[in-house]
Symmetry: C2
Subunit: 221 residues, 2 copies
């Protein structure tokens, strides 16, 4: 597929997963260019990719002459440049609610379980697999407990995190839920989160964005 | 001071510091209600505050009936409800750049050095003060190296992170710089960051937001 939009990502990166969901919800075609985060010490650290993103993290979206980094900034950009369907509600209070739900995950949960952090814990703090698992479950659990309270206790929650259309908050929630399952976090405490994730997973935009559907996902026997 | 805006924060929280900068840049009066993050096990964990913010983190801004959490969402809300002076540029590409610079700090630097993370490292991973210091310097250094490259290598950088007016990116940078000094990160590598921080610190809005100027800051002999 050729397209003006080029997404540099990695099948299992949850930040790239968010952007794939947003692109799909907008109905935007894009060319996928995988950046392998582990092979050869990590392609994100090589000069070719660093020139695009000095942070050496995925995703990076190239839109013609624009090079865009940071998944939340990319999704806001897509929402501004392709307004329909909107990924944020029209009112300032609703927008603040959606952004706070999204950022609870994007700022306070996901970065703590990122590959580079787990590598540092292993290499510098000699944390073994079990300790890294406890670490990951702890921070996802903390975030999900707060998110569950904010979703279950608010009349603005609908079929999705905010009302009955998917927003940036849902685009952040589904990839974090994927990570929670990967780390075997018990999900019984989070019925509202589970209900919303199921509603998202029924949509084609979310189905096409799953890690296992990406061109760089490893083949399954 | 009485005001419709009430900010729950803590003098040394860099997320609260960001919001203070944004409120001051907008010329908005607010009532400050300190939440002591350490005393009595942390007032943010007590029921009165949890009812406002189930995440048990500061800041939280109350605007009449609206309870707003997450510093980036709060600043976007202030920019939408009080448009002048704007804290984001008018064009989508510029807005994406400012948000990506802000989120580099808000997502990938600050959460890793947050109090609750340092407490977990100490209590669960038995990391002593020296290890926690190395951890903090490592993540701030990683972020600042990328930020320096993104600022120094881009014609859109001006007196401030983006052009000649302060934006959300500057509101995130100055508190992170404060943390960098606190952890004694050598700053020689970051001349553009230092230049921009100095330009910010010359402004009254930034001066009034510094931790030591807050009502809950400890008295200095």
């Amino acid at each position: 597929m050729t397209s003006d939009l080029v997404l540099y990502g990695y099948w299992r990166s949850s930040a790239a997963y968010r952007v794939r969901i947003a692109l799909n919800l907008k109905g935007l075609a894009y060319e996928s260019r995988p950046v392998h985060l582990v092979r050869d010490g990590g392609e994100q650290h090589q000069q070719a990719y660093r020139a695009l993103n000095p942070q050496e993290l995925v995703p990076c979206l190239v839109d013609g002459a624009q090079v865009l980094t940071q998944s939340m900034a990319i999704m806001e950009y897509l929402d501004e440049t392709h307004p329909a369907p909107a990924l944020l509600p029209p009112d300032a209070a609703g927008r603040a609610r959606v952004r706070s739900l999204a950022q609870l995950l994007a700022c306070d949960v996901h970065p703590l379980g990122n590959l580079r952090v787990l590598q540092y814990l292993g290499n510098e703090l000699h944390a073994d697999e079990a300790v890294r698992g406890s670490w990951s479950r702890h921070w996802i659990g903390e975030g999900f407990r707060a998110l569950e309270a904010m979703l279950a206790g608010n009349a603005a929650t609908g079929r999705f995190c905010h009302g009955d259309q998917p927003t940036l908050a849902d685009a952040c929630l589904v990839p974090q839920h994927y990570n929670a399952l990967r780390w075997k976090l018990p999900m019984e405490e989070f019925p509202t989160i589970r209900r919303i994730v199921e509603a998202c997973q029924a949509l084609d935009a979310f189905k096409r964005a799953v890690p296992e559907a990406q061109p760089d996902a490893p083949a399954v026997d």
